[in-house]
């Protein structure tokens, strides 16, 4: 029984081992030089581009082609942006509270801050 302990159906396609499976990232024996690109899709006209995932490509043109094949097989997009992941500057989750703090105490920026009698129309 004990040898079965290390299995679970945690992945979608069924039971896989959980014991003795290395998860520490290591440099691969043959490293690919292809950059990681983040992919943004406009689902239809009138909507913003939305991040959908990432992929690897040798150059931006190939990234666009791969993004088309990977993320728009069923008309999910009318426009694609790709950007090298390394070129993205992001806010840090560690300083999340101080970073967004300036807007936290400005309740007067919200319409609900102001008390207006109910019988004033169109407000």
């Amino acid at each position: 029984m004990t040898e079965r302990d290390g299995f679970t159906a945690e992945g979608g396609h069924g039971a896989v081992p959980t014991a003795g499976v290395p998860t520490e990232p290591a440099p691969a024996a043959v490293r690919s030089d292809w950059d990681l690109y983040e992919v943004f899709l406009r689902g239809k006209r009138g909507l913003n581009h939305v991040h959908v995932g990432s992929l690897h490509a040798a150059d931006p043109q190939m990234a666009l082609h791969h993004a088309r094949d990977l993320y728009t097989r069923r008309n999910e997009g009318v426009s694609i942006w790709v950007v090298r992941a390394a070129d993205i500057t992001a806010s840090s989750p560690d300083e999340k509270d101080p970073f967004f703090e300036p807007s936290g105490d400005k309740v007067y920026r919200h319409p609900t801050f102001y008390e207006i009698p109910d019988d004033v129309p169109h407000m």
Partner: protein, 310 residues
């Protein structure tokens, strides 16, 4: 410091909010997610092979186009998942290396051979049906990128299951020989499909932790029961029998009872003694090795084009 970070992590889970890539997370959570997502990705990638086996021998152009689209989807699912694994710090080339060196595994269902075209239908119906049972709750996984990948995947799995069932209905309307092919494929894939849900709950000690982390939503036995209850009426409608003499409706439980799964067979297949283990990995390795010059040439072309622009 760690204590407040851990409290923040616990509070996020308690509110059913999602954990996102750059959030602090316990090391064990990160490792579990990498393992879960990577081996799920490997399953999708290896899962292309049993059905890909029939693309050149599809019985009609319609079936061929459907099968190509389906196998392409499996590749896509693998790519969504590798992308999610990378948000945790995994390296995609390294994950491929861990798959073809056998250090990370894939679902044992793909170590069974596909002997006739009916297998394509039965894989869609039973194997993808079981995968859907597993995957739908994973759309609510606490790890954001994995949950989002699962939403995309589940939308596409529905096509996979329906094309399989339709294929089988078509064969059942055909000749006696075709009906026999469907029955034979069902007989071969029924028990391996039940094994996809993993060992019984009393032998799955990881389940409690995974459920506490919100990365597993139902136990193995719950999902297996759900799959059996869903599938029996589908089999009746199709006109095939499921190869289990103990299978019968239990009025009291409100569920179907079914026979014991042969976990010794499951262990043998996982350990590498299934019909196709060596072939699956050898094929993946060959494809990777033979693609090396393409990856290198594309990188060289990109470097040259970049230099010319500079």
């Amino acid at each position: 410091m760690t204590e407040t970070l851990e409290q923040h992590f616990d509070a996020t889970l308690a509110h059913e909010h999602r954990i996102e890539p750059r959030d602090w997370m316990p090391d064990a959570y990160r490792k579990t997610m990498i393992r879960q997502i990577a081996q799920h990705a490997h399953s999708e990638i290896i899962g292309m092979q049993p059905e890909g086996n029939w693309i050149t021998r599809a019985p009609s152009l319609r079936r061929k186009a459907i099968l190509i689209a389906k196998v392409q989807d499996e590749a896509g699912h693998g790519m969504y998942l590798y992308s999610a694994a990378e948000t945790l710090g995994a390296d995609r080339a390294d994950l491929t290396d861990k798959l073809i060196s056998g250090r990370q595994k894939y679902s044992s269902i793909f170590n069974y051979p596909t002997l006739s075209y009916a297998d394509v239908g039965v894989i869609g119906w039973l194997v993808d049906g079981a995968a859907i049972c597993n995957q739908v709750p994973l759309c609510r996984s606490s790890y954001g990128p994995y949950a989002r990948a699962m939403v995309r995947i589940c939308k596409e799995e529905s096509f996979h299951q329906r094309q399989g069932y339709e294929l089988l209905m078509t064969m059942m309307r055909g000749t006696d020989e075709q009906r026999q092919m469907v029955q034979d494929a069902t007989n071969r894939f029924w028990w391996p499909s039940l094994m996809m849900f993993g060992p019984p709950d009393d032998q799955s000690p990881n389940t409690a932790q995974s459920m506490a982390w919100g990365i597993k939503r139902h136990t193995n036995d719950e999902l297996r029961q759900r799959f059996v209850d869903m599938t029996v009426p589908q089999a009746e409608k199709l006109g095939v029998s499921l190869p289990d003499p103990e299978l019968k409706w239990n009025e009291q439980r409100g569920h179907y009872d079914f026979g014991a799964v042969d976990w010794d067979e499951f262990m043998a297949v996982v350990k590498g003694n299934g019909p196709c283990n060596a072939q699956r990995i050898a094929h993946r390795k060959r494809a990777h090795d033979e693609g090396a010059w393409v990856r290198e040439a594309a990188a060289a072309h990109a470097a040259k084009a970049k230099a010319a622009r500079a």
